[in-house]
């Protein structure tokens, strides 16, 4: 049974400037009593997620809403296990597949086919799984013979198609999506929506960060409103989204 549980999860993101990044400066600072002359130690800590308690169960389709910088992407990264919380805990069971920034993590000089394998392995697919799905991924991307050309010759739309095709081929129990719409041209867009809908129906839990409220109303049954790292509201989608819209 897939679930994600956050218990008092807090995440402090350290942001280093050039001073904080330097071993030399750090060592020199050790011997010094007077810290005023040096100013800050070059590390600013930002509380990106503050004391979040949540439990997502099977069947949940959660829409993440909130302004830019509210902590939506960071929350998704934390659920995916990329960032571990500084306080509290994140527990989960089930295979998690994050689709965060779908154009990253590809190799420029490899062909499309080789990138399918690379990205598949990165997302935790097995070798046999990749082989079995290679054909359908290639077909879905509609890239045809271009798949034998290196990625550096691709247009940005083609890259996104390929990345999207591979990422959505993974069998996920928990799917974390961050603003993945806006892919390619109009006809591909339509296909991508169908594919996502299909993914949604297969996955047990879906968390979706998006700025389109109408889309969230359509596909989600719950909404989570983040504000400055805090949970502002969590509940049935209609209720929370209307509150959010009223506030805006």
């Amino acid at each position: 049974m897939a679930y994600i549980e956050l218990k008092g999860a807090t995440l402090d993101l350290p942001i280093y400037d050039v001073q904080g990044r330097s071993l030399k400066k750090t060592v020199l600072r050790m011997g010094r009593r007077n810290t005023i002359a040096e100013g800050t130690d070059g590390v600013v800590v930002v509380r990106a997620i503050n004391n979040v308690d949540l439990r997502l169960e099977k069947g949940d389709r959660i829409g993440l809403i909130g302004r830019n910088g509210a902590g939506k992407s960071t929350l998704l990264r934390m659920m995916a296990g990329i960032y571990s919380p500084t306080h509290g805990s994140v527990l989960s069971s089930g295979k998690i597949v994050p689709l965060l920034d779908i154009s990253l993590g590809m190799d420029e000089n490899s062909t499309g086919m080789q990138n399918i394998r690379l990205r598949g392995l990165l997302l935790g697919m097995s070798d046999t799984e990749i082989r079995a799905k290679q054909q359908s991924i290639a077909e879905f991307s509609e890239l045809g013979d271009y798949l034998d050309l290196p990625l550096r010759t691709y247009s940005s739309g083609m890259r996104v198609r390929l990345a999207f095709a591979v990422s959505t081929a993974v069998d996920a129990e928990i799917l974390l999506l961050d603003e993945v719409m806006g892919v390619g041209d109009a006809s591909f867009m339509h296909k991508a929506q169908d594919r996502l809908a299909d993914l949604h129906s297969r996955a047990e839990i879906v968390v979706l960060a998006m700025h389109s409220n109408s889309e969230i109303r359509k596909v989600c049954n719950k909404a989570l409103w983040m504000e400055r790292g805090n949970v502002r509201a969590f509940g049935p989608v209609e209720e929370v989204v209307s509150q959010y819209e009223a506030q805006d």
Partner: protein, 260 residues
């Protein structure tokens, strides 16, 4: 702490398909679009060995038939060791795109570096084989010892790379410092000169653990047995180094995504 690092290591080794692929990509990428491909490595190392061999062989008054194989083995093996460490120090930094994408085990990026350098070693080793063929193998009996010696050698390179990579992710001026240290290490380690040549400052050789490490992989190929002290130093370094590296990795593994 240890269990965290151990788990990561176990999962990393299990996803060998991923790091062997990433390692290959890098080698191919550097020499893509050229006809001889990675054999450029072989050619450039060959030229380096040839020219250093002529100059220093004459300077040191050595017989070229002895000195050239000695130099080739030393340079090729040292190159593998120092490149593993230098590239290891930037391994996490350069893999930012992957680390922030998915929760993969982290040590795959270190194994990738080791794998890549083993591939490069295989290319460079052709020169060693060529020179051994020309000047003859000194002793066939010691040759098989090279295999366990090489494994132990790379195990040592790996833990140093793990430590270097982890600290470099936090302190960005460290890779330059490490590259500078490796440069100095190259000069004080008997690579282009013989260990016995430093009679007045023989302490530099005896107290330098790297001298023992390079001796370990070189001796079997030039027909000598590595001494028990050499084995002891290499094994001791590997054991204590790994304990240290795993403890450090276990402690800071979770911080890596924040740092890169």
């Amino acid at each position: 702490m240890f269990s965290l690092a151990f788990n990561d290591l176990k999962e990393s080794v299990a996803s060998w398909r991923l790091w062997t692929l990433l390692g290959w990509l890098e080698v191919r990428q550097r020499y893509a679009r050229s006809r001889v491909g990675p054999f450029w490595l072989t050619i450039s190392t060959g030229v380096l060995i040839g020219s250093i061999g002529m100059v220093y062989g004459t300077l040191f008054g050595q017989k070229l038939s002895d000195y050239l194989p000695y130099l080739a083995i030393s340079l090729v093996m040292w190159g593998t060791f120092s490149q593993t460490i230098i590239e290891g120090s930037t391994a996490y930094i350069n893999s930012t795109a992957y680390i922030r994408q998915a929760a993969t085990p982290k040590l795959i990026f270190m194994l990738q570096v080791v794998w890549r350098n083993l591939v490069i070693l295989a290319h460079n080793f052709l020169i060693v084989l060529l020179l051994l063929a020309i000047f003859g193998v000194k002793s066939w009996e010691t040759l098989p010892v090279f295999i366990p010696a090489l494994i132990l050698y790379m195990i040592n390179a790996l833990w140093i790379a793990m430590v270097a990579g982890l600290l470099s992710a936090r302190f960005r001026d460290l890779p330059q410092i490490i590259a500078a240290i490796m440069q100095i290490a190259f000069y004080v380690t008997p690579i282009i000169f013989r260990p016995t040549a430093l009679n007045r400052f023989s302490l530099i050789v005896r107290l330098n653990p790297l001298a023992h490490l390079i001796e370990l992989v070189r001796a079997p190929l030039i027909g000598e047995w590595p001494t028990p002290i050499t084995w002891a130093v290499a094994i001791g370094m590997a054991v204590f180094g790994w304990i240290f590296a795993l403890a450090l990795t276990g402690r800071y593994l979770k911080r890596i995504p924040y740092w890169v």
